[in-house]
């Protein structure tokens, strides 16, 4: 499956994880979208360097061809999926009381 197809599936999967699997429902929260906006900005910068130098090169047949700050648009979907899955898991773990206390008590 092409990068494009996998990227779209990844976004769908991440949404499912948040809303149906872990039920963290971050997609409805200000804290999530604010954090994501910050991460997205830095993604455009860092990934811009990686794809602009370029450090990573893509087979044109596997992407649509549209780019944002040098990076294939698919990278935006990839990033969204990765961040959403991570944050959903983080919050879900918190709900379950995992690592409730930090090693160093302040």
């Amino acid at each position: 499956m092409s990068y494009t197809v996998l990227a779209v599936l990844a976004v769908a999967g991440a949404v499912l994880v948040d809303l149906a699997v872990l039920r963290t429902r971050l997609l409805g929260r200000r804290v999530y979208w604010t954090a994501y906006a910050i991460v997205l900005f830095f993604q455009l910068v860092v990934n811009g360097v990686l794809t602009g130098l370029p450090v990573v090169v893509y087979d044109p047949a596997t992407i649509l061809g549209a780019r944002v700050a040098y990076a294939p648009v698919e990278d935006l979907l990839f990033g969204f999926a990765m961040v959403t899955v991570t944050l959903s898991t983080w919050v879900w773990l918190g709900r379950r009381g995992v690592g409730a206390r930090s090693r160093r008590h302040r």
């Binding site: 092409s2 990068y3 996998l6 990844a10 039920r23 963290t24 429902r25 971050l26 409805g28 929260r29 200000r30 804290v31 999530y32 604010t34 954090a35 910050i38 991460v39 830095f42 993604q43 860092v46 360097v49 990686l50 130098l53 370029p54 450090v55 990573v56 090169v57 893509y58 087979d59 596997t62 990839f78 990033g79 999926a81 990765m82 961040v83 899955v85 991570t86 944050l87 898991t89 983080w90 919050v91 879900w92 773990l93 918190g94 709900r95 995992v98 690592g99 409730a100 206390r101 930090s102 090693r103 160093r104 302040r106």
Partner: protein, 128 residues
């Protein structure tokens, strides 16, 4: 020095977000078990995807900018580290927003089992 470029970018991400942990009290690294468990599924899924893509030549890496350390399957070390660093920075950003704004994330301790939190601040049980 070029060969340290990708590693340098990753180090920069960690250095740039370190102040959040040190001064904003995000307590991500210090809640070590939770941090590592949160990153783990992402590492597995997305590094797996990366390996798949590299194997199918959907994308490739320019060695000029890399250390040269390659993991089994053709994944540069830097890519594996990317899947630890970026999720970590995302969690740090998330906790930083929460620390500054106080907005609910849904993992706050709830004394009484309540209906699903709609995400808005409020008291489900009325007076407190």
């Amino acid at each position: 020095m070029r060969h340290l470029t990708y590693l340098g970018l990753l180090a920069g991400c960690l250095a740039g977000t370190a102040p959040l942990e040190i001064w904003l009290g995000t307590r991500v690294y210090t809640r070590t078990r939770r941090w590592l468990l949160a990153v783990l599924p992402t590492v597995v899924v997305f590094a797996g995807w990366d390996l798949y893509a590299v194997g199918r030549h959907q994308w490739s890496y320019r060695r000029e900018w890399l250390s040269g350390v390659v993991l089994p399957g053709g994944l540069p070390l830097e890519e594996a580290l990317f899947f630890v660093v970026v999720p970590t920075c995302a969690i740090l950003a998330f906790e930083a927003v929460r620390a500054v704004r106080g907005w609910p994330a849904g993992d706050e301790p709830d004394p009484a089992p309540a209906e699903p939190d709609p995400g808005e601040p409020g008291e489900p049980d009325g007076a407190r």
